[in-house]
């Protein structure tokens, strides 16, 4: 009975409906909806029969609102899980606006995972952009407003590129189906670019570290999960094995590391590391073998959990101290033991430390590069794995929870935040120790064995020597109260300044011309004006107006006469 009822509704709609339910409920009822609806969606995702589909006709096109692929199910599962645990974290502190926005955002992200056509995908895509902008806005600060507007512009841009691409593709092929596309024309390229901008690919990577850290402690947790990973999902379906993604992903990986190393703001460090981690997934999609695609999918799952955990710990610190810069923090392990432990578990997981979730997912991507004999890719990925430990694995917990004593003695955050962190910390370790349940739901059969003596020893070597490098180079990592320029400089500084320069020049030229012309005119006029008699100088000024007229009529007639004979 239950199953029959649920067949026809895409699970994402439950969460989107939740946004409206949360808007009109308060207190206990709101809390029940917040926790119950994501769980209901989770149950629906897994109780849908294999052949479940829901198609409607939209003009000449089939809209498939319920077409789960294996990959889609994995993403929908982790999105629903994220909504549930994020709800626990946000429960006491988030505004109703933020909660509604987060549910709209999460619901449309889940919608993307079950859409089988490009038209409904695009609609969900745009609802996501609006929902996430509202999540940033909900922080209610001046900075969050400015960041939200830049964020909205960026997504309006990527959305437009995507829309043109989709419309062009449908016009060209006659099919709106959302499945693997080949990059054989500008339409497909535009779809790819639309997806990539949302994944934080170059040159548009800056929006992540610009917008996410301006959201509230809980808002930032929601934001870290959906936009970039929905893009990873879209790339997995539409562009597996597209080689250009390998260099793009590698660039993202090192961009994330370098900028995170330069950064002082704890949540911005973690935002840069989103780009870094999504880079690994993009490389996996580019490699395109079954193992690499499995790796990218598993890594997205693991990443959402540990990145949310890391941002929860940073959010807990921000909530308790009001501070987010590493240079203002330190020594918090003494009074925030639980947050320290959970943050450190997240940091170990992102670093692919053995017995954490990152170890069993990321290694599939690097191993697939080895199996395909992609030499330089493999060497870059190995260096990057060490670099992840450097910029996120040690740097984040070290500067926030350890290093110098800042003198701050905040306590651990409210119980609900602690519960959320503990749940995700447990998931990080559970996935690392028992990877099989995750491997079982991946799109392709997994033959990979993560725990071999070889893999363990080499991974420990890589990470621990990266750690040695960190502590030896600590003097070089002294925090400075700075930000780092990025491509957003072009639209935040160069274009506005350039525009005001152009307008200033145009204005000057115009003013100068006007001045010259008017002075010339008035000089001429003054030269021919008799101030004493208050009338113009010159021959005609002495005559009566009628006399002047007669003269001109005579001239006209004379001219006419001459012209007549010619």
């Amino acid at each position: 009975m239950m199953n029959e009822l649920m067949i026809e509704i895409p699970p994402g709609w439950i969460i989107i409906a939740g946004a409206f339910i949360l808007a009109i409920t308060r207190g206990m009822l709101q809390k029940i909806a917040m926790l119950g609806l994501p769980l209901l969606a989770l149950v629906m995702i897994w109780s849908l029969p294999e052949e479940a589909s829901w198609q409607i006709q939209f003009f000449d096109y089939q809209i498939s609102l319920l077409e789960f692929t294996a990959t889609g199910k994995v993403f929908a599962t982790v999105f629903a899980l994220m909504t549930f645990v994020g709800g626990i974290f946000a429960m006491r502190t988030a505004s109703t606006l933020e909660l509604c926005a987060a549910f709209l955002y999460a619901g449309s992200a889940i919608g993307v995972t079950s859409s089988g056509d490009l038209i409904s995908l695009f609609v969900y895509w745009e609802i996501m952009a609006l929902g996430s902008t509202a999540v940033v806005l909900a922080a209610g600060t001046v900075n969050s407003y400015k960041a939200a507007m830049r964020y909205l512009l960026m997504h309006a841009f990527s959305g437009s590129v995507l829309m043109v691409g989709i419309a062009w593709h449908i016009y060209g092929t006659g099919s709106a189906e959302f499945s693997q596309l080949s990059l054989d024309g500008p339409a497909q390229w535009m779809i790819l670019i639309g997806f990539l901008v949302n994944a934080g690919a170059p040159p548009f990577s800056a929006w992540i570290a610009d917008a996410y850290p301006e959201a509230s402690p809980s808002g930032c947790v929601f934001l870290s999960a959906f936009t970039t990973k929905t893009s990873v999902f879209a790339l997995l379906i539409a562009f597996p094995g597209t080689e250009i993604l390998i260099p793009i992903g590698c660039f993202m990986i090192f961009y994330g590391i370098i900028y995170a190393l330069l950064e002082n703001d704890a949540r911005r460090i973690l935002s840069y590391s989103i780009v870094n981690q999504v880079g690994f997934m993009v490389v996996g999609i580019g490699i395109g073998t079954e193992m690499a695609l499995n790796g990218a999918t598993a890594h997205a799952f693991a990443h959402i959990v540990y990145k949310a955990l890391l941002l929860m710990s940073a959010g807990a610190v921000l909530y308790q101290t009001g501070k987010r810069r590493c240079s203002d923090l330190g020594g918090l392990y003494q009074s925030m033991p639980l947050t320290t432990i959970c943050g450190t578990i997240g940091a170990l997981a992102i670093s692919s430390f053995p017995f954490t979730s990152g170890f069993i997912s990321k290694s599939m991507i690097s191993s697939s590069a080895a199996y395909e004999h992609l030499t330089w890719v493999w060497f870059l990925l190995a260096a990057a794995s060490a670099g992840v430990f450097l910029h996120a694995g040690i740097k984040y917990p070290w500067f926030v929870f350890f290093q110098k004593d800042s003198g701050l003695r905040p306590s651990d955050p409210p119980k609900n935040m602690q519960i959320a962190m503990v749940i995700f910390a447990v998931v990080c370790i559970a996935l690392g120790v028992f990877p099989q349940p995750l491997y079982d739901i991946l799109p392709f059969t997994v033959e990979y064995v993560p725990y071999t003596a070889d893999h363990l020893v080499t991974q420990f070597q890589l990470l621990l020597f990266a750690g040695l490098a960190f502590f030896l180079l600590l003097p070089m990592m002294k925090r400075t109260e700075t930000i780092s320029l990025d491509f957003d400089w072009v639209y935040r500084r160069l274009l506005p300044r350039g525009w005001s320069f152009v307008t200033a020049v145009v204005c000057r030229v115009y003013c100068a011309t006007q001045k010259t012309v008017t002075s010339l005119l008035s000089n001429t006029l003054q030269k021919h004006y008799d101030r004493e008699q208050e009338k113009p100088l010159g021959y005609f000024a002495k005559l009566w107006p009628t006399e002047t007229m007669v003269v001109w009529v005579a001239v006209l007639l004379a001219v006419y006469l001459v012209l007549y004979y010619i």
């Binding site: 090192f254 590391i257 370098i258 190393l261 330069l262 020594g331 392990y333 003494q334 080895a370 199996y371 004999h373 030499t375 493999w378 060497f379 190995a382 260096a383 060490a386 670099g387 450097l390 350890f402 004593d405 003596a453 070889d454 020893v457 080499t458 991974q459 420990f460 070597q461 890589l462 990470l463 621990l464 020597f465 990266a466 750690g467 040695l468 490098a469 960190f470 502590f471 180079l473 070089m476 990592m477 400075t480 109260e481 700075t482 930000i483 780092s484 320029l485 990025d486 935040r492 500084r493």
Partner: protein, 82 residues
């Protein structure tokens, strides 16, 4: 604050022991390689202690590159507010 007033984790003595412990662990991870069969794909990755020295050198390189780029890219926090 004298050393004994500090949290036990940050006393000079503890830090010394932590370093010793860390170096011992580093040594163990390298020596462990003698007892396992390492699978290499590219040749170089089969060299002794490869992941140790490669991880170390690339991390130093990344920190140095970041430091150098920092001279070009770093600006005051209020840069965009002016």
């Amino acid at each position: 604050m004298s050393d004994t007033d500090k949290h036990w984790l940050v006393r000079a003595k503890t830090i010394k022991y932590l370093w010793i412990g860390f170096i011992v662990v580093l040594g163990i991870t390298i020596l462990a390689e003698l007892f396992i069969h390492k699978h290499d794909y590219f040749g170089l990755d089969g060299s002794f202690g490869f992941f140790g020295w490669y991880g170390f050198i690339t991390c130093v390189a990344m920190v140095v590159v970041a430091k150098l780029l920092g001279y070009v890219l770093k600006r005051k926090e209020e840069y965009y507010d002016e």
